[in-house]
């Protein structure tokens, strides 16, 4: 496999990432695609790492409690 050529397939995958992330869904599938591209196109690593990172935010919630009396 030629690992240095940006093919239409890669472009499509990047576009797909954008679509998935913009929709806020299928995060894991998108991240898997990013991983696949990173492995096969190391010259695009910096850009793709940024794309991947931007899309991999994780929101956790926690409850607090307090009583108020007077």
């Amino acid at each position: 496999m030629n690992k240095l050529t940006l093919t239409n397939k890669t472009t499509a995958a990047i576009t797909l990432l954008g679509v998935y992330f913009a929709a806020g869904e299928s995060k894991e599938l998108s991240r898997d695609l990013a991983d696949l591209i990173l492995r096969n196109y190391p010259d695009k690593v910096q850009v793709l790492n940024r794309i991947k990172k931007d899309l991999c935010a994780f929101n956790k919630q926690f409850d607090s409690s307090m009583g108020v009396f007077k």
Partner: protein, 201 residues
């Protein structure tokens, strides 16, 4: 790769500085800690506040967050924490969190192993309101990092776990004439819930 798994813990503010001065100590079980999450019985509990004499404040509390499994990821960063749901009626009822050492904006706590602190304040056991500088919690996603990790940095190497914690001290100022009752979680009219967001790769 999977998303990292994480945990929140309430850490007693009486914990000695020497019991928190390595990341191994901070990420290990700490005497008196309690798990914090969503759901009844798992709240970050600020206790009770008597406002019969006017505005009053809760005690200082401390929250630790850390990653428990990295899911194959190597970096966590861009930490953001905010009060995402609040049922308090009075504008003066405000949740405050530890800030930069100069008091300019939100940040976290560091510990004795970090040395010079640029973006955090160093933990002090048995803290009172006068111990740290404080700024109000954001009440929506701050959009950019607003809390540094205990290494006084904006990112954590999570290639090996446990890594380190993000530590936040907080207290609540309750305004005079605030509606009395118990505020917790997503209880209608008495909401009290926080959010913590991070990036990973």
């Amino acid at each position: 790769m999977a998303a990292p798994t994480t945990q929140f813990r309430n850490i007693p503010i009486s914990t000695a500085e020497t019991d928190l001065n390595t990341k191994t100590k901070r990420t290990s079980a700490i005497s008196g800690e309690s798990s914090v999450s969503t759901g009844a019985g798992n709240e970050w509990d600020f206790g009770t506040v008597d406002i019969s004499g006017g505005a009053n404040q809760s005690a200082v509390k401390m929250l630790f967050w850390n990653i428990t499994a990295n899911g194959g990821n190597t970096t966590a960063d861009n930490f953001k924490i905010w009060l995402s749901s609040s049922g308090f009626d009075q504008a003066g009822t405000t949740l405050y969190m530890s800030s930069f050492g100069d008091g300019s904006t939100n940040s976290g706590l560091s510990f004795g192993d970090v040395g010079t602190n640029n973006d955090t304040q160093e933990y002090v056991a048995n803290a009172t309101l006068g111990t740290y500088n404080w700024t109000a919690f954001y009440e929506s996603d701050p959009g950019a990092l607003n809390v540094f990790c205990a290494e006084d940095d904006n990112s954590l190497d999570i290639s090996t776990v446990p890594s380190d914690v993000v530590a936040v001290a907080a207290y609540l100022n309750v305004a005079d004439n605030e509606t009395t009752g118990t505020y917790k979680g997503t209880d209608t009219g008495y909401e009290f819930q926080g959010s913590f967001k991070f990036d990973y790769s």
